[in-house]
Symmetry: C2
Subunit: 391 residues, 2 copies
């Protein structure tokens, strides 16, 4: 069991109409000028942005707006946001959207508060010492960025998609209304479910021993997410299923399921970041669904007990006494679940062929200079082996 | 499923030597004068207080000390602490101990910051608007006060033991070293285990439906605590068991296991507060162990599905298809577990006879004027029926 620091200070307002708390919260916070940050047109079309803008006006809070955040949020828009914050004297950012919008907001908040290009933080050239406060009205359950210490930005000039973890970037508040996710299409509900599961599973599959409390919490979370993901795809307006996914998205990535554990890197996430850095059309959760079963099949013999525990405690695999067989049955059960909710499980389904594997691997390892860790070092050769299992 | 607010901002430093972070944290916080608050002599004898005092000095932080907190912390010492804070200009309280010390510190912090007798907050005559910051070096895993929004104070003049919940009273930081709990005797390790379990179970046994995520987390937490409690009693220096109890004490009472749920009152806690208000010698966890099985046997037919789920998912009771039978088997399993770890399960073991029941019930219901809630209102008559099941 490892020592740990646990710090999840985000104030969560959860339930129907939760977004109504945003403007009063910002007023009580004492903010003078808000940057309202969002993605495409759906938040406008749904009336959510109008509702928030009206509430800000009613509470006497000045604001400026910046939309246009894309999936895999891009550095140029971050730069635009920083310039806007500096010009307008913004002292609070409200991100209306999902993980991409929140991540873009976190990066803008770092850049505006520290007066430097936040890509330098991402590249570990500098360490951030402060941030503008960021809150969010969440509209997609997936990334967990609403409570996490991390955000991921894509720099299309390289191209490189890279994450940064810092407690400074944790949201001060999150307004979470499951009804706002009713309109998330089935495909993205499936990708979100995969992302939520992966945030817990990346922390579950480590070399640590005697972490029973965290492991049982992780298994409980996964069990409920598996049910809720399927239920929300079957009935998009199943409130309880949507609420389960939304709250699980936060708990899965706020640190809770990593306590007591060594989490050297989120391996499958790192593999996926390489895929979507090279192929921008790949949704993060779709890439994870393709990569997880392949990674698991490649690695499970190095941690049979842990993979067998997951199989038995989460996937209902009967304990045959054969750890390796049970572990493999659990991996197959997960792959079958991904298929059942409509998530892709092969590169072919993503439209990516073997001819692109070397470029993706080079993106992950900086042309073979680095390795990532998952029970052993994974360099280009090992990564290519994993990719081939996902063809 | 219910709407909820989740806010657990306490920064937790967890692991061997965690107490070494206290002085640097307080320095970084900018505190000028610390009240070091503690209980009996054990923290002095173990060298822990000396270590903390030396660290404060090394970090240039001035402090005053107030020891003497008793189990079921008392209002007169709280008043003494407030006077000391005002006289010395204290701006930060460090509680070194368990739940009683933290609760006493929280009450002092409210009184000193608001300039009023904090008993008026406890009696709901006033609502607190601010507090001095409180941090803790935890030495007993039980109460969960290190992350909770609540504290309980006894007013021996009435006598009345009563709790108060307010996010203002959440600790800013908790320094949690499982090794500091190695010297907790077996009896108090057992009482702590019961208290931790009860904080989750009080939130589990509600009338809510469709709270699967929270329920699975609760069951996972309980499963690991049951193992860890027995292991820590068998081997007091089992680090992993002590760590599991310590972290579970926080998670069990920081709000996590109450999300999505209606928790009208902590019923068994309220019953126990009556017992230990009248009989000060009764340890809180001992009282809970006596009362829980009696309460459960009195109430389970009103919520057979939920009691059956606990029996099957936590206590390993085989699903016979008969909810009532499985529920009862689960209650018996818990009672047997309490016996196995040396916790009392009858009033007789506490040295309390039936002749005292009316006085205790009157204490709980303000002489029959109030009721408490657990699937139905419980007045004096119902409370006496529960007590008789615990003889």
């Amino acid at each position: 069991m490892n020592d740990f620091l646990y710090y999840a200070p985000t104030k969560v307002y959860f339930g129907r109409g939760a977004a109504n708390n945003a403007a009063p919260y910002i007023k009580a916070y004492g903010a003078k000028k808000v940057l309202l940050h969002y993605g495409g047109g759906s938040a406008r079309r749904s009336g959510l942005l109008d509702q928030i803008e009206n509430a800000l006006k009613e509470n006497g809070i000045d604001y400026v707006s910046l939309g246009g955040v894309e999936p895999n949020p891009k550095l140029p828009l971050v730069h635009e946001g920083i310039a806007l914050c500096e010009k307008e004297g913004v002292d609070f950012i409200l991100a209306v959207g999902g993980g991409s919008v929140i991540d873009s907001a976190k990066s803008i908040a770092l850049g505006a508060a520290n007066g430097v290009d936040p890509w330098r933080f991402t590249m570990r050239e500098l360490t951030p010492t402060c941030s503008l406060p960021v809150a969010t009205v969440l509209t997609i359950a997936a990334a967990g960025s609403e409570m996490s210490n991390s955000h991921v930005i894509s720099n299309p000039a390289i191209p490189l998609k890279k994450g940064l973890g810092s407690d400074i970037t944790r949201c001060v508040a999150a307004f979470m209304d499951p009804e706002l996710t009713y309109t998330v299409p089935a495909s993205h509900t499936a990708y979100g479910t995969v992302d939520i599961m992966m945030h817990t599973m990346e922390r579950y599959f480590t070399e640590d021993e005697n972490t029973e409390l965290t492991d049982r919490l992780a298994e409980g979370l996964l069990t409920s997410v598996i049910h809720a993901g399927a239920a929300a795809i079957k009935n998009p307006e199943d409130y309880d299923a949507r609420a389960t996914l939304m709250w699980a998205s936060s708990l899965s990535h706020n640190g809770l399921t990593g306590c007591m554990k060594t989490v050297p890197c989120m391996t499958v996430h790192q593999l996926e970041h390489g895929v979507s850095a090279v192929f921008d059309h790949v949704a993060h959760g779709a890439g994870l669904a393709v990569l997880y079963p392949a990674w698991a099949k490649y690695i499970y013999k190095l941690a049979p007990r842990r993979f067998a525990a997951m199989a038995r405690n989460v996937w209902g695999v009967k304990n045959t006494g054969d750890e390796l067989a049970d572990a493999l049955a659990g991996i197959e059960a997960m792959k079958a679940y991904f298929v059942s909710i409509g998530a892709p499980v092969s590169f072919t389904e993503l439209g990516i062929g073997e001819e692109s594997f070397a470029e993706i691997a080079d993106n992950i390892t900086s042309c073979g200079k680095n390795t990532i860790w998952s029970f052993k070092p994974l360099g280009n050769r090992e990564i290519l082996e994993i990719f081939r299992l996902a063809l």
